[in-house]
Amino acid sequence: MLFGIEWDTSSAWAFAWSILPILLRGMIVTLQATVVGFVLAAILGLLLAMLKASHCRAIAWPARAITEFLRDTPLLAQLFFLYYVLPEYGIVLPAFLTGALALGLQYSAYTSEVYRAGIESVPRGQYEAARALDLSAGRIFSAIVLPQAIPRIIPALGNYLVSIMKDVPVLSVVSVLEMLNVARIIGDRTFDYLIPLSMVGGLYLIMTLVASAGVRWLDARLPKQGVPLK
């Protein structure tokens, strides 16, 4: 029994059918972690991108080093660090939030590059024309650069959303009850791993195929009106 739902071990099919709702409960946690992790990655990545673009070397260089470090170390190690080391300094986050934060940090390294590429893809002439019209720096960024960069940024971010989803199972090591952890607990208690784990694989395949299709759909729908895409 898990989440108050009993399983039925009378036959393989009955077992699979009876644990499906339990796995779906885990899937909800997976999706929650994906979304929270993604939002964090999107925000932290923007922050990193802005720091890296700074003209002040004392800001840009450390930001670059941090990006490199976040990108080159395993999610698992970062997760352990956040989960076990932060509390030593009095910062105690629930497992779920720690996990989402680890995902956010790891992927902020990637998303910061997405922002940079998106912004650099706006031709120089656009900045020059905007300056010649005397628009302020803030207005140039928000009204000229960002709207042109976003249609290029969104699809790339979407691909990282899918990647984050595939990394959520790592959070199981800090006791987040996402789909894989749920499947393992079922396995631990029924000693049948084949069915729950195979079902998790199948559910994952469905989730990523749907998500990838969603990203493509969004990509095709983005208001690119007038924006020449490469």
Partner: protein
């Protein structure tokens, strides 16, 4: 693999689950604990020259046996009927009671497993451990349980308040409490009572279903070894009480498996 093959190879693969004091691997990679120390003696008596220690998660012990990733488990795993359906157990090597690890000063004032059935606080258990069944039998709701992967994670989990207590055997609790000043064993602990009886566990060595010969040979040697003072010395060295040692003679595996 069964006894003949192991003798032929000259190597037996024994798994432990990093649980002090039942079985764990220290910094130099050697196995220690009540299970491994006794197992080493038995292997010697069986004429098996070398032991390959395998450290793995507690919840991987039974799947690992089934998948033939090792020949024997020396983790003082509790002998329980539902486990007997999956694997073979030796006769009991030890017996132990329950305990609770809490943050220093016991801020949530916890003294029994039953407390969690009502107070809505969270209790940590290790993945695959039998405290789950006890808590379920005592009516602790699923939402109050936090599953951790590793015994030693309990210190962090409890001291940071991610759970109010860690439910484990008394020995595990005292071993962990010794390690860190931030946690302690819950004082005036009341043994959980299930089906009218205080809960006690009997730990033994574990084997795959097909390793019957190995299990029988281990049983023979274990019975003999338990008569020696060395056996008692090993158990007491790791914190088992006289009563725990005596207790191991009170039940047979056959009884425990059918209860």
């Amino acid at each position: 693999a069964d006894l003949d093959q192991i003798r032929e190879r000259g190597v037996i693969r024994i798994a432990v689950a990093n649980e002090i004091p039942y079985g764990y691997i220290d910094l130099d990679g050697t196995a220690k604990g009540a299970g491994p120390d006794v197992a080493a003696q038995l292997a010697e008596r069986l004429g098996i020259g070398r032991i390959e220690w395998v450290a793995t998660g507690f919840s991987s012990l039974i799947p690992g046996l089934q998948a033939d990733r090792f020949d024997m488990v020396a983790a003082e795993m509790a002998i329980l009927p539902q486990r007997c359906r999956q694997v073979l157990f030796s006769e009991p090597n030890s017996s132990y009671g329950e305990g609770l690890l809490v943050a220093a000063g016991n801020p949530d004032d916890i003294h029994a497993y039953e407390d969690f059935a009502r107070n809505g606080k969270k209790v940590a258990i290790m993945a695959g451990a039998d405290q789950l069944e006890m808590l379920q039998a005592l009516g602790v709701p699923e939402a109050s349980m936090v599953t951790i992967a590793n015994n030693a994670d309990a210190i962090s989990t409890v001291s940071t308040g991610r759970a109010s207590a860690y439910a484990a055997t008394s020995l595990t609790v005292s071993g962990l409490a010794d390690k860190s000043g931030r946690v302690e064993g819950a004082g005036s602990f009341r043994d959980p009572v299930v089906d009218g009886q205080p809960v006690r566990s009997w730990g033994g060595f574990t084997f795959a279903q097909r390793s019957e010969k190995l299990r029988d040979a281990v049983n023979t040697e274990l019975q003999a070894f338990k008569q020696t003072p060395e056996w008692r010395a090993i158990l007491t060295e790791y914190g088992f009480s006289e009563a725990d040692a005596e207790g191991s003679f009170q039940r047979t595996t056959a009884e425990l498996c059918t209860e």
